[in-house]
């Protein structure tokens, strides 16, 4: 439609039917007939895409705007767009409600579960890819399909009896359960696409197979590792259900802390929105700077069928 790169061959073929004689230089035709009729498309495209972007971004902007308003201003329809911004809500959330602890908890749990899952998952994905262990891979990927609640009840039973509920250990373990299948899935498709020649050459030169994996394959896998690590960090940071049940007063993560905001009679909208901003903005900034990896992770396996 708008790409001109593919136009010449198409035009050539239509031309070739009658007009072109041998020896006559190939004519560059002007735009083919159908193109002229579609000046509306680029305009339509720009308008629709602008609206789309607006629809996806406006609510998030609204969240930020509301977090900068006093509660009085939030209730006042005249001050929808024009108001005096204030950081009081943030001061309230971070100072009085001690959100720094929750930020740390979220960060710590996401980091630990990502690192441990990478340690467990990357070699597993490597073995499953190189030895085509599809059935074993299915076992790990089952974890992606199973509804979390169906495991949460027995976990709660077991860990409550062991008196472990409320500690970081259980929380990290449960988040690893989300991260590990994701990492295995992503890294398997990464290793599948990585040629084996370099490993083979390294083995000929005297490295053991494990040595070749550690010194050749892993350094080559940095983009894949980045994708898997970033995505599992995001998923763990955003996880709500496991933390809701398994976290204690001292290990509460940000999503749970935000949820607890509304269990009181009236909602403190300003503070709630600033808490929501505090949880979403870090992850959005990470996604912004690692966009390439996030997108490649989210779409992994889409074109393989």
């Amino acid at each position: 439609m708008t790409d001109t790169a593919t136009t010449p061959p198409a035009a050539d073929r239509t031309m070739a039917k009658g007009t072109r004689r041998p020896g006559q230089p190939l004519q560059r035709p002007t735009l083919p007939r159908r193109r002229r009729k579609q000046p509306a498309y680029p305009v339509f495209r720009v308008v629709v895409l602008t609206l789309t972007v607006l629809l996806f971004i406006a609510p998030l902007v609204w969240m930020v705007v509301a977090s900068l308003k006093t509660n009085v201003d939030i209730y006042d329809p005249d001050k929808t767009f024009f108001f005096t911004p204030t950081l009081d809500n943030y001061a309230n959330v971070l100072g009085r409600n001690n959100y720094f602890v929750f930020i740390f908890n979220s960060f710590w749990v996401a980091l630990c579960s990502t690192v441990f899952s990478l340690i467990l998952g990357v070699p597993a994905a490597y073995a499953m890819s190189r030895f085509t262990m599809h059935r074993s891979a299915m076992v790990v990927l089952m974890a992606r399909i199973i509804p979390g609640v169906s495991l949460l009840v027995p976990w709660y039973f077991i860990f409550a009896n062991l008196r472990l509920v409320g500690g970081f250990g259980v929380l990290i373990l449960s988040h690893m359960f989300v991260a590990l299948p994701l990492i295995v899935y992503l890294m398997m498709s990464f290793f599948d696409s990585l040629p084996t020649e370099l490993e083979d050459a390294a083995q000929v030169d005297g490295l053991t197979p494990i040595g070749a994996f550690l010194r050749i394959t892993l350094p080559l896998s940095v983009p894949g590792l980045a994708t898997a690590g970033i995505l599992s960090f995001i998923f763990s940071w955003n996880n709500f259900m496991f933390a809701l049940v398994l976290s204690g007063a001292n290990t509460k993560t940000l999503p749970v802390a935000i949820f607890n905001f509304v269990s009181y009679a009236s909602i403190d909208w300003g503070s709630l929105m600033s808490a929501a901003v505090i949880v979403t903005v870090p992850i959005m900034v990470i996604a912004l700077f690692t966009q390439k990896y996030v997108v490649s992770g989210l779409t992994a396996g889409a074109t393989k069928g």
Binding site: M1, T2, D3, A10, L49, T52, F56, P59, L60, M63, Y75, L120, G121, P123, A124, Y126, A127, F131, V139, V140, M142, A143, I146, P147, V149, S150, L151, L152, V153, P154, Y156, F157, A160, L180, P181, I210, F240, M241, P255, I258, F259, F261, V262, L272, M273, A275, A276, T280, I283, M284, A287, L288, Q291, V294, V295, L298, T299, A302, T303, G305
Partner: protein
């Protein structure tokens, strides 16, 4: 090499040789054991619990009751069957809307243009936003009294809507929220599929005089088939299990009339709000079987179509 054979290997060399020989399972086993232990033991326990009358404290005694829980759940037309229906409505509605919108946006983004990067960044944002925060955000926007949604309607002279707090409007509103958050995912997957297509079939159809719609319907869509199925399966599994936005916006039991109570919310409520573990496990087993059945149907159909 001969030197290696004649000298006795040291303990370290033997260890390394053993590790290298068994690297397949040495690498794969820890992850599989981890997932296996966290799945199989709990799943077996869930099956056992579903056959008992366990409730109250996790340390309380429970009695074996056979299939009584299953009979109770199957005859429960007040909570169980409506939540099955709501699970299907929510998943079906959300995934269908996301596929249609996602395909539209992906087609618009397909051919490169100026500013493409910004559009991609913009649509990535809802995708990575924390679902609980997203729930809270929409809760404010859809608030009947102070929300922006009703203010917007007011500018066009449309009367205020109850949105999330309405008994019939809550579920559609939540489908809308799900569509807002997850359409970008479909866009990204379909876009990855579209960019991997070669231009030739589309060009050939263009030369043969096919209209834009014909080219999409009879050329692009069939070529994109497997990507579309992957997108539906991935999104479908997650949509069936949606919990965060439902619980964050409507709280326990899916609202005071259970208007958005899906199977996942129902099972969660039974387990952790009412501590009715026996019944909860029964619902979970049925829910799990349902997901497996749907998954099996989709993948089975796919294989059947291919051969």
């Amino acid at each position: 090499m001969t030197v290696m054979v004649t000298t006795r290997p040291t303990a370290r060399q033997a260890c390394s040789a053993w590790a290298n020989r068994h690297r397949k399972w040495l690498f794969a086993a820890p992850a599989m054991l981890f997932v296996g232990l966290l799945i199989i033991v709990p799943l077996a326990w869930t099956v056992y619990l579903s056959l008992t009358d366990a409730q109250g404290s996790v340390r309380a005694e429970s009695e074996f009751v056979g299939l009584a829980n299953y009979l109770k759940v199957f005859s429960d037309t007040e909570r169980f069957w409506p939540s099955v229906w709501r699970t299907f409505t929510f998943t079906g509605g959300a995934v269908a809307a996301e596929m249609v919108l996602g395909m539209g946006i992906a087609l618009l983004l397909w051919r490169p243009f100026k500013g493409e990067k910004w559009v991609r960044v913009a649509i990535l944002m809802p995708l990575v936003a924390t679902p609980v925060a997203v729930g809270m955000m929409w809760r404010l926007i859809f608030d009947p009294n102070i929300g922006f949604a009703n203010q917007l309607l007011d500018w066009f002279g449309i009367p205020a809507q109850p949105w999330l707090s309405g008994q019939t409007s809550a579920l559609p509103t939540l489908i809308f929220i799900d569509v807002w958050q997850w359409t970008p995912m479909i866009v990204l997957i379909l876009l990855a599929g579209l960019t991997s297509l070669s231009d030739e079939p589309d060009e050939a159809a263009r030369i043969d005089g096919a209209s834009s719609w014909q080219r999409f319907r009879f050329v692009t869509l069939p070529l994109l088939r497997s990507t579309v199925i992957v997108a539906i399966v991935l999104r479908g599994i997650d949509a069936l299990k949606t919990f965060d936005i439902l619980y964050a916006t409507k709280g326990k039991g899916g609202g005071s009339f259970h208007e958005v109570e899906t199977l996942n919310v129902y099972a969660f409520g039974l387990s952790f709000d009412y501590n009715d573990y026996g019944i909860a496990s029964t619902v979970l087993i049925l829910f799990f079987l349902l997901i497996i059945a749907i998954m099996w149907m989709v993948t089975y159909r796919r294989k059947g179509d291919r051969s």
